[in-house]
């Protein structure tokens, strides 16, 4: 809860150089590195509507313009609209010939439905949408006034893309022809180019060229409609005019008047899985069911990296040594050895060049076609300007494994000493000394750097070729926010 409501006092340095709290970091079990949202690949798993929880394949979602067909948002305040039912006496025209029959029918109450917003009390009746006899669906759809032009443009650009692709293929083929080394399929089988294209399922070149030829580009015009006469004299009723966010929410119509606001089809949400860029392993993978908030794979730093919290600290004074109390937690199911170090003491990461296996290089040659720049993680040195340092106590602390049952026995172990304040199952309270540089100016933010060395047992079953190395020593650097340097 503290991570949600309070500022991030303790930040970890991600392997890409970003500073993030532990709750927004991931831990790749294969690279054994901390990753953050900036240095991993985000992939869309599935589209769903957050209101009706309906799943949708991506092709269908694209067809529906990433909007749900049955749920609506309020055009006035963007809250989700609810369907309300009213019983309505059926209005039957008085027909003297029908007589008694109409009376019987008019007594049957009929359920009619309309959309209503519980936040701003907007209803679909406000803009004159007739009530519907069915609870969901059937709401009138409005067509974009420029739909024809938009479709024309899409066709045109598709045709251009197609043409460029063809030209590229043609160029490739020419290259081969010059070499004269290979026999192309058409030479060998006597197929004509058009037939080959037909077999491959590509559209014939004529149709794409006709789309390009028939395209009429837009013409800019200086003539615009005159402003109405009373534009400057008529009193403005702000309640009748839509706000900018309301207009931008429906870009196809951009209504000026409140009476033209129509329900907005609800935008779909996506479930995404996240992947490490270095090793292509999944870091998170949600369950497919939109109603579920669980994950199939959930490699969060919170479950693998020791958690550090600030209990309290003395006011930070320039050039002095002050006390700092931290709580360390071991979230893993294995005992953890932990040392506090200076950031400079961290050994530089070894550049391990993997032995290139055949399939790996094959894969790389296939990937070569793609634009690899999008997949490369940019690493930078983090910008850390810390005025204080945590003095390393020079002892190794042992943290017990996480044990959910241990919550219930309340006897704290008392093997306390100068450093260890208390110890309780997988948690440890430590007393540390903070060394602040004399140059620190009073009132400036007091931040302290500390590095952690911790043992980590990898529970991933090792690949048959790799050495069975299960215990690792890992390092991470933290930045503690201790308020401001006190001036005196």
């Amino acid at each position: 809860m503290a991570y949600l409501t309070q500022p991030d006092y303790v930040k970890y340095i991600c392997s890409c150089g970003q500073l993030k709290p532990i709750t927004s970091l991931y831990f790749c079990r294969h690279c054994l590195k901390i990753r953050c949202g900036f240095c991993i690949c985000h992939e869309v798993d599935s589209h769903y509507c957050a209101n009706c929880l309906e799943n949708m394949p991506s092709s269908e979602a694209r067809l529906k313009k990433n909007r749900c067909s049955s749920c609506f948002d309020c055009p006035s305040c963007f809250h989700t609209l609810s369907t309300r039912a009213t019983t309505q006496q059926r209005q039957v025209l008085q027909d003297p010939a029908a007589g008694g029959d109409t009376k019987v029918e008019s007594k049957q109450p009929k359920k009619m439905y309309y959309l209503s917003c519980f936040n701003c009390r907007w209803t679909s009746r406000d803009v004159g949408i007739p009530d519907q006899p069915v609870a969901s669906g059937g709401w009138p759809e409005r067509t974009n006034p420029h739909a024809a032009r938009v479709n024309q443009l899409i066709d045109y650009y598709k045709a251009i893309a197609q043409q460029e692709k063809q030209e590229k293929i043609e160029r490739e083929r020419k290259k081969f022809n010059i070499r004269g080394k290979y026999i192309t399929l058409t030479d060998k089988t006597g197929l004509t180019g058009a037939m080959a294209r037909n077999i491959a399922g590509l559209p014939s070149s004529e149709s794409s060229s006709s789309a390009i030829a028939n395209f009429v580009p837009s013409v800019a015009t200086a003539e615009v409609d005159e402003l109405p006469e009373d534009i400057f004299t008529k009193e403005v009723n702000l309640n009748q005019i839509t706000s900018m966010p309301q207009r931008l929410a429906s870009p196809d119509w951009q209504p000026v008047s409140v009476s033209r606001l129509h329900p907005l089809a609800k935008l779909l949400s996506v479930k995404r899985s996240q992947r490490c860029r270095a090793c292509d392993h999944n870091l998170t993978k949600p369950e497919y069911n939109p109603g579920s908030i669980k994950f199939k794979i959930e490699l969060l730093a919170y479950y693998h990296v020791p958690e550090v919290k600030i209990i309290s600290h003395e006011p930070v004074k320039p050039g002095e040594k002050t006390a700092l109390f931290l709580k360390l937690t071991n979230p893993t199911g294995h005992e953890m050895q932990l040392r506090l170090l200076q950031p400079e003491d961290i050994p530089p990461p070894e550049e391990k060049e993997e032995p290139k296996s055949i399939d790996k290089s094959l894969e790389r040659s296939l990937v070569l076609e793609k634009d690899t720049t999008a997949f490369k993680a940019i690493e930078r040195q983090p910008n850390i300007s810390a005025t204080s340092r945590v003095t390393s106590p020079g002892v190794t602390l042992t943290l017990a494994q996480r044990d959910d049952a241990a919550e219930y026995d309340d006897d704290a172990q008392h093997d306390t000493n100068d450093i260890i304040l208390w110890r309780k199952s997988n948690k440890l309270g430590v007393r540390l000394e903070l060394d602040t540089s004399a140059e620190a100016v009073g009132g400036s933010p007091a931040r302290a750097l500390v590095a952690l060395q911790y043992s980590y047992r990898n529970t991933v079953p090792p690949a048959p070729s790799a050495a069975a190395c299960r215990d690792h020593t890992l390092y991470t650097t933290l930045l503690l926010d201790l308020g401001t340097v006190s001036s005196n």
Binding site: S76, N119, C120, R121, W122, T123, L238, Q240
Partner: protein, 192 residues
Amino acid sequence: MSHNVKILPGATVCEDCTLEGDITIGGGTVIHPRVTIIAEGGPIIIAEYCIIEEYSTIIHKKSDKQENPPKPLFIGAHNVFEVGCKLESPCGHIGESNVFECRSFVGEEVKIGSGCVIGAACRLTAPQTLADNTVIWGSDHHIREALEKQPSQLLQLDFLSKVMPNYHRLRKPNVHKRQPSTRQSTEPSPKP
């Protein structure tokens, strides 16, 4: 308990609420427990078919330029005062079919028409007049105009007046003759 409280037949008024001063409660109105209604500046008249929910406060404030005899605070029919709302008014008239949502606050010198909605946690403090069918919502106090009045809560009223006596001690109606002053508004019958 003040003897000035007049409860008309058909009203459901819980015993566990603070009613001070000259208060008239119309028939069909439901007052939940823990409601505070204080008429220190003048009488308060609540018309028929209002719902006043828990922890709402209605105060007819004393003011310096008090008229003699003091003007009543008249609250029209079909108003809904949701949980924790507060209405402070030196005098005046509140229309019909208004909704005062949870924890809303209406200060002095605010005149309210009919069919208005004061959104949850909205505070109206500046002197102003709300036209009919005004809706105020959100932390930014957006204002819009509804096309029609808020639908009345007759089903909810029916339910409350049936259920309340099973779980709460009620104050008994003490006026058996219908007062002409509270019958001036033209209201539809309680059953739809």
